[in-house]
Amino acid sequence: MAQPLLELDNVSKAFGGLQCISHLDIDVKEGEIVSVIGPNGAGKTTLFNLITGMYRPDSGDIRLDGESIVGLAPNKITNRGVARTFQTLRLFLNMSVKENVMAATYGRTHASLFESILRLPRARREERESNEVAQEKLSFFGQRLMGYRWNQPAYSLSYANRRRLEIARATATKPRILLLDEPAAGMNPVETHEITELIAELRKQGGYTILVIEHDMHVVEGISDRVVALDHGVKIAEGTFEQVATDPRVVEAYLGTAETERK
């Protein structure tokens, strides 16, 4: 069996007395699209924060391509090929659309401040490359983030465009695995449909492995190779969408059981 690209091995994380993630094992293979679902408070975003190094797991190991990434700073983990978007959008609001994407190429470029000021060849070349990356990543969304929007500040974008810009920014870090935190949240049905196609397109064009948190079951059904269901930090089901959607424990987690209601 091929080695999984991302591997969570018996990972636990607690905040005080609250066990957010307990003994979680997840494998994501290269090129796969895996959805993480679960009711509010199930620990989905905490899972992302653990993978990207924002939190350090209490126990267990997280491996990227067989190498442990536990304890690395978030920017180091991103440099190794893990990029994420945020559920609560976290763009650089006062920078232009282009600069948002160019800023994310920091980890791929190496010119020192000294070289940049003197405009030495390496700084000039990297600047040109960053500009090309921004152009490439933004044109992925057609004209929506191009043209006159190019130099507009990010705060002038609509909600849906901000979500798109977050994805463009994440892909500019040259990731191998993309973590999308509720990419369709707050979108209307047309835009949600578009996001579904977009995620598939991301894999096809960029070759990214994608781990996505999503509440919209149509999106989950449309994109996922595999679905992982969490509840109270425990993996309660894993498999294809049909398997997970019909799993009694998943139904119970979302809807509760008849017995519970009677109590």
Partner: protein, 520 residues
């Protein structure tokens, strides 16, 4: 580009793709009329051309001034303003770009000055050449900036401010108390000749510091220092502009907007913070070196918290994050306000500049804050009419209620020329305005003015417009009867504060700053 567009063809309005709607914000900001046309013309001029033009103007300043005492004072004001411009540029890196509230900045300015004084004065008998001292002091200061920022790199906002303020205060205490340093009482055993070792000269500072010199050439004239400082400002401005456009500059601005996201997007935020503080420290040390050579001494009170706050005022007034704004802010605060409000020049000439600064600032604030122009015109007309009516009423009802003169100098009270005539017929200055007994009575006017300003912050709409009229009049009255006499010392700084508050209310983003959005 269009081949890889993934979105399917769809009829109906495309969401988020309407250019007219998306540009509504830009249109709202655009001015119409003459102001708009001038703005449009200005925006068409390439930025380097504007930069070159301003530099050229600055280069011409010493050439058009003759070498009279008053001109030398004038030139010194310019040099001091340039030193402040340098400081504002440096502070802008940490505060404007990276968004770090660094209150220890003043220490690096002081380290530059004292470092130069240690290595180029009789204090320790060392007289190194400037070309050797300058890079050394700048490098040491930058390194110290990195080191001091190291323990506070994880702090943000208020916490960072508290810790860095502590660093700044430590420097000031070392500077003022450093004339009796005792190494655990072991001075003599360690080979120092006295029980209290003198490092900084304490409150007296270090005097007789060498002038800047290169290979035997020594800069001794005011002109030379003006040009040296101007060169430093131009170089630092260019360097910081290029830095701002580089990947590092983008990363600074990114972590200013959202540190967590910046880190998730591969930026090493802790290192970037250290770098921002370090670059700022280098610029501050350069300014300190120039200042020590200019004053031929290093004195602790030039490097205290009060000076720090003034530099902050410059950066914030100019617009944090804008380099041109930092320079403009430095000039407005140091030339127009600090020097302009001075009642006397150091060589003893009385200047009536304070009066101009005061009325001009009020006018600028009104023009900037009140829209549309019809409302502004009505308020200005109201202010004039109010004064004339009050003047007439006082003239009729009292005996010598409008016979007052203007304060034109330490012991001179006169009509004050055409402007004075206007002011005397607008305000109702009673005879004997400046006699000792009457001045206590005018305190009530000051209290009344404060009450009116407080009321202004509460009321809205036409009531506010109406209230502006007597407030401005009373402000003029208070200025002529009390403040024109007292614009030395603390009163000058109080006035500076009041004028800054007025300007910031009129333009919260600063003179050249762009409005920032925090959370939408």
């Amino acid at each position: 580009m269009s081949e890889q567009t993934p979105q399917p063809e769809r009829s109906g309005p495309a969401i988020g793709a309407d250019e007219w709607v998306a540009r509504s914000g830009e249109r709202a900001r655009q001015r119409t009329g003459i102001v708009g046309r001038v703005q449009e013309l200005y925006e068409r001029v390439p930025k380097p051309a504007v930069f070159a033009f301003v530099v050229l103007l600055a280069v011409l300043v010493p050439l058009v001034t003759a070498q009279t005492d008053n001109d030398i004072y004038f030139l010194r004001v310019g040099t001091v303003a340039l030193v402040f411009a340098l400081l504002a540029l440096g502070l802008n890196v940490a505060v404007g770009f990276a968004g770090l509230l660094d209150l220890g900045y003043i220490a690096y300015y002081g380290i530059g000055a004292y470092g130069y004084a240690f290595l180029s004065s009789d204090k320790f008998g060392i007289h190194w050449q400037a070309w050797l001292v300058l890079p050394l002091v700048v490098a040491v200061s930058a390194l110290l900036g990195l080191l001091l920022a190291l323990p506070s790199r994880r702090l943000v906002g208020d916490y960072l401010a508290i810790v860095t303020l502590f660093f700044g205060q430590i420097f000031y205490i070392i500077a003022t108390q450093g004339y009796r340093i005792s190494f655990l009482g072991l001075n003599e055993d360690l080979g120092f000749d006295r029980a209290n070792w003198d490092l900084t000269g304490g409150p007296n500072g270090i005097a007789n510091v060498d002038r800047l010199g290169v290979f035997g050439l020594e800069a001794s004239s005011e002109r030379a220092y003006f040009y040296i400082t101007l060169t430093a400002v131009v170089v630092v401005f260019a360097v910081l502009t290029l830095a701002n456009r580089s990947r590092t500059g983008r990363a600074w601005r990114a972590l200013n907007d959202d540190t967590l996201a910046a880190q998730a997007m591969s930026m090493p935020v802790n290192w970037l913070k250290l770098l921002a503080v370090g670059v700022g420290a280098a610029v501050a040390a350069l300014a300190g070196t120039i200042n020590a050579a200019l004053l031929q001494g290093a004195f602790p009170d030039d490097y205290n918290t009060q000076v720090l706050i003034i530099i902050y005022a410059m950066v914030i007034l100019g617009g944090a994050g804008s380099l041109a704004g930092a320079v403009l802010g430095a000039f407005v605060v140091s030339v127009l306000m600090l020097e302009g409000l001075r009642p006397q020049t150091p060589i003893g000439d009385f200047t009536g500049n304070g009066r101009w600064v005061f009325y001009a600032t009020i006018l600028v604030v009104l023009v900037a804050a009140i829209r549309p122009w019809r409302r502004l015109a009505a308020i200005l007309a109201g202010i004039v009419a109010f004064g004339v009516v009050v003047h007439a009423m006082v003239a009729v009802t009292t005996d010598r209620g409008t016979d007052g003169l203007l304060n034109m100098g330490p012991d001179e009270y006169s009509g004050g020329g055409p402007l004075g005539w206007l002011i005397r017929h607008w305000l109702a200055l009673p005879a004997g305005t400046y006699e000792l007994g009457s001045r206590n009575w005018f305190n009530f006017a000051l209290v009344g003015l404060i009450a009116l300003v407080l009321c202004l912050t509460v009321v809205k709409g036409w009531k506010r417009d109406a209230l502006i009229v007597p407030t401005v009049w009373l402000a003029g009255f208070v200025w002529e009867t009390r403040l024109a006499q007292e614009t030395s010392g603390p009163t000058r700084f109080l006035l500076l504060g009041a004028l800054l508050v007025g300007l910031m209310i009129a333009r919260p983003q600063g003179l050249l700053g762009r409005p920032r959005v925090e959370i939408v």
